[in-house]
Symmetry: C2
């Protein structure tokens, strides 16, 4: 399964799964302490894992960090860890149940010692969990670091991370597995689906759900794209039929989002994350506060008053976001002024140079927008960090919300302005097409090919360096070099940007679908290349990320649904403004508006009823979940009955 095995301190070989990189100047006593805690038995509060220092590379240089450690575990330990985590696995009868060591032979893929029962991603997740929950005992600080305070129950790894002693912790790639995956995923151009199960196997559920969503979204847009083409080709200006198209679009948007929930539930069920009970969430590494006691766990933990956080959110972050939105509007207004000014110069004196001048405002605007997005992103991260959220999930939600709102504005504000203030449908269509196409090309370049090129240069340098010393036929790197190379790869920061991109594309398709029916076609084409570039990026550019046992796409579901509500409003308004619809109400504009508003309300109402009627979890999955629930209740009852029978027996014999 693994490319190479290593020798642990006790003499037996183990497969390295996770790498810990400590700062190169870490004090010896801290290292000794950490390693002993990791190796210590569970009864003594240790993690009972195997750990070994990474040997020096072939081309040893002074700047190479000696403090890199490989972590692994025995299969028995991993299986116990999986039980501890409550991982769900498929049973021989086809149902999904929480894995327990005692009932291991009831599980479908459990053979022999269970060597291939857990995927490597799962093993790595178990190790991450065990390391994360390695807690301080009586230590008051990390040995050798008096400022790195500890208290009983504090996660050691999190303190080391927040104090910069632990630089990073990452799981290793599997060369063979990765080759196989990348071949079936993106190396051959094919019409088949993505290997979602393999992706999940290698990268975990969070990643697989993203690619599942990307694929689903693409397929869901195909009908829209197919209907859009004839609209584009034949009925460019016939708004009568656009009304039908737009209504279809709105219903379709709602339906696909609802059906995605069902598909997501179905995927998550078979991947075992749907009914897995989440462990109690620990505070994120950056969280700080006065030491107190957590009301839930009773453990010592920093406490930060919610009211203070609310003050920071509502009195600082919210006004800041609003100010940024205002600024972005202001910049947009300047852009339109500049555009008008350039146009007037061109109209006065149409030469080659003034024609060039026409493009200047757009270019400046695009650059300014990009710069603003970048600066805003940093500001949002800083602010959200400063809000001091206790949980990673809460931090993520606040960050996503901030970035989402601003990106929505900066992307769509100009389109809204053109549509509803300037009311220039021709310009709207042009801008929409330009924005869509440019953003697609730019994104894919920035996202995959540029980092790949950089990575490739580094990779080649490393290979060349190694080749200087030894000669490898297959150009394969030995484990030590491979680990160092992976440590240098960029860190994958999660699916945030990928989802954000899809969100904006969904906006282009849905918000103004009735003026530009070709949008769906463009997005479908983009998504097809996106699958390849994202897959490539995951396999070749980034460090392997830890698996993330997600059961759904989280806050993004909400974001997409909000977008589809906004889409109803904008589409109704666009249709109401079209000259063709206006011609039906020649005498009274009031009536036109009232009809449009009424139609909008009916559509919104219909949308909500539809959301309500389509069940979020398919019936057969619901049945399976209910069966699991029922069985646990029955088991409890049987226990109660046998207990009470015992009691009654006792009672009677008294």
């Amino acid at each position: 399964m693994l490319q190479e095995s290593s020798v642990d301190s006790s003499g037996s070989r183990f497969a390295p799964l996770v790498v810990l990189e400590l700062a190169s100047d870490t004090k010896e006593e801290a290292i000794t302490w950490l390693l002993s805690r990791i190796r210590d038995r569970q009864q003594n509060g240790g993690a009972e894992l195997l750990v070994e220092q990474l040997g020096p590379g072939i081309g040893v240089k002074e700047k190479e960090n000696p403090n890199m450690f490989l972590v692994g575990a025995s299969m028995q330990r991993l299986l116990c860890g999986a039980e501890d985590l409550g991982l769900f696995k498929e049973c021989t009868d086809g149902s999904m149940r929480a894995f327990t060591f005692a009932s291991k032979h009831n599980f479908k893929d459990f053979k022999g010692d269970g060597d291939s029962f857990l995927s490597m991603a799962e093993c790595q997740y178990v190790i991450k969990h065990e390391l994360d929950t390695l807690r301080a005992k009586e230590e008051t600080n990390v040995p050798g670091y008096s400022h790195a305070k500890l208290y009983p129950g504090k996660s050691i790894i999190r303190r080391l991370l927040s104090k910069g002693i632990l630089i990073q912790m990452f799981p290793l790639h599997e060369k063979e597995e990765l080759k196989r995956l990348s071949f079936s995923w993106y190396k051959k151009v094919k019409l088949s689906l993505q290997p979602l199960d393999d992706i999940r196997h290698y990268y975990g559920e969070g990643q697989a759900l993203y690619f599942g969503f990307l694929e689903y979204f693409t397929f869901a847009l195909v009908p829209m794209a197919l209907i859009g083409v004839p609209y584009y080709l034949f009925d460019w200006e016939d708004y009568d039929k656009y009304v039908v198209f737009a209504v279809f679009n709105l219903v379709w948007c709602t339906v696909i989002l609802e059906l995605w929930k069902r598909r997501s539930a179905s995927l998550a069920y078979y991947w075992g994350t749907l009914c897995r009970k989440k462990a109690f969430e620990e505070p994120r590494p950056g969280f700080h506060g006065v030491l107190g006691h957590n009301p839930v766990t009773g453990r010592a933990e920093p406490i930060y008053p919610t009211s203070k956080r609310h003050l920071r959110v509502y009195l600082v972050s919210l006004p800041f976001v609003l100010l940024c939105l205002y600024l972005s509007l202001y910049v947009m207004m300047i852009y339109f002024l500049m555009e008008g000014w350039a146009l007037s110069i061109y109209d006065e004196n149409p030469t080659f140079w003034t024609h060039i001048l026409l493009f200047i405002p757009s270019i400046i605007y695009a650059v300014v927008i990009e710069a603003m997005n970048l600066i805003y992103r940093y500001a949002a991260e800083f602010l959200t960090e400063w809000e001091n959220h206790r949980l990673e999930s809460s931090y993520q939600n606040h960050l996503v919300l901030k970035v989402l709102v601003f990106n929505f504005f900066s992307c769509f504000a100009s389109l809204f302005y053109i549509a509803f203030v300037m009311q220039d449908m021709e310009l709207l269509r042009q801008s929409l097409a330009t924005l869509l196409i440019t953003s697609q090309i730019l994104n894919q370049f920035m996202e995959a090919f540029l980092p790949y090129w950089l990575q490739r240069r580094r990779n080649k340098k490393m290979i060349r360096k190694v080749q200087k010393r030894r000669m490898y036929e297959e150009k394969e790197l030995p484990l030590v070099e491979q680990v160092r190379l992976e440590a240098d790869m960029s860190t994958y920061l999660g699916t945030f940007d990928d989802y954000l991109e899809l969100f904006l594309l969904f906006g282009y398709v849905s918000l103004f679908s009735c003026v530009f029916p070709l949008a769906a076609v463009l997005v479908v084409l983009n998504n097809i290349t996106e699958v390849y570039s994202d897959a490539f990026k995951m396999c070749r550019v980034f460090k392997r990320p830890f698996a993330d046992p997600a059961a759904n796409i989280g806050v993004w579901q909400l974001a997409f649904e909000a977008m589809s509500v906004i889409a109803v409003v904008t589409n109704c308004a666009l249709i109401g403004m079209s000259p063709q619809v206006r011609s039906y109400f020649p005498e009274s504009e009031t009536q036109l508006i009232l009809c449009t508003v009424a139609a909008e309300h009916v559509l919104l109402g219909f949308k909500f009823i539809l959301t309500f009627l389509i069940q979020d979890v398919p019936k057969h999955i619901q049945d399976k979940l209910a069966r699991l629930e029922f069985e646990s209740l029955e088991a409890l009852k049987k226990k109660v009955k046998s207990d009470s029978a015992g009691r009654q027996h006792e009672h009677q014999s008294l």
Copy 2:
């Protein structure tokens, strides 16, 4: 605790809790069989309860039903039943935990043998549950009734009920307790709150939540009422200020509904229903289908395809409801025609008789509406029964939805017509006031005093009859007579009508609040009397209902929220139509409408954000729930750890 004890078959006395009334012509073998099943030990599949036939009354008549049975149980059996049900009780440390017999001494109110640990309502609920889950074994039919088919696992009581062999099953009142409750509840006029805990103690959580909601709703309306009075007294026609009032109202409606969720969660937590795991829901008695196997429990059970039910719902029920709504609109149009015709006659010839004629259309309309509501209610019940829902909850939801939509229409359609088609604000105000006041007076009369008067007559007759034979000083009835009297009382059909009334009142307050600010005052006054009449009705008029361990007000929360959304739309439209607001846009009606629509959208958006921001469960309850969850996870983990340590030990010793 109980008024009188009875002697069971084995010679020991037991307190009767529940009455079973079988048809008077039930065959002897069926009775013998049923009683033996009820008395049989749990190991043999019996309910292990105590049961005894009710003796003949004092004034024995031929028409008196001899087949009435009192059911009770030993305290031990009741406590085991409570554990079986997973009832939550307060522990000595103040937290709420599922009661288990083994840990009984950790619970706060457990003293001695636990005689007063369970309330009588809880004991009755335990008995109901045990009777309901008494299942057929090998019997193929009820002895003596070849048409009353049974199959292994079928609930006996439900089959007896559906075949009419069992007429009713009801819990007994406790005279002393009831006297105390009614004294603190409605017998003294006071400013203090309702004794919600006592109500819950006597009637169960469902009832208590209704009265809690009624009380909460009344208090929540007080600020509106207080603001409404000066508006009514001083600024009758000043729409400027109405805008402020209406916006306040809308925000208030949203906030009170959200805060109610918090209060309801809080009440349900302390009543132990919030985190209680619901048992698997059995099919309702009327449900029929082909015998198959339930995919969840694996038990034999009638199966009815969902697709068929969907066909019935969407192809029959839905068109029927729409047709009824259309009819109701038609009736309303006739009413307005008649009204106009009466007015024209009066205008032509204003005499006393033509003045009387003016009231005729309203009276006819009111009578027709009442009749239509009644007929529709029966039709809705018939249709929902015919839809053949498997679960009682699903049946209830479909029935509530049908009745709700129709009642909403028949109550508010005329107001909508006056407001938006006739645009006569003066008439709207008058109609609103008339409708509100009439419906209040009528309701309280029909609901409490009329049934009470009928019940009182029956009661007196019974007392007189008893007094003929013996002389009682306290005019108290002996148990036998009391049981027969209660069996004759009307059955309380649940909180449906009570909630429906509140829902319509909420509509009067919220939909047109900006034209009639006094509505809140009237509703507050009504609610205060409603508390008394409902309490009176519960204590004196109806049979005691079984407790219903509800955790929230269910579908009504949704209904109230839907009403508050509609309220935003109507209020915005009313404000937009007011001459004062119109005068701000003298040149352009279009702009007025656009502004109104924009304001409406902003308000709706704000409303949704507010709904999102206000958490449904208060923080301290969330913490307690999380603590419970955390403890169960930790306990599981400890079990896993000790198991795995055992395994490792085993492993090492091999």
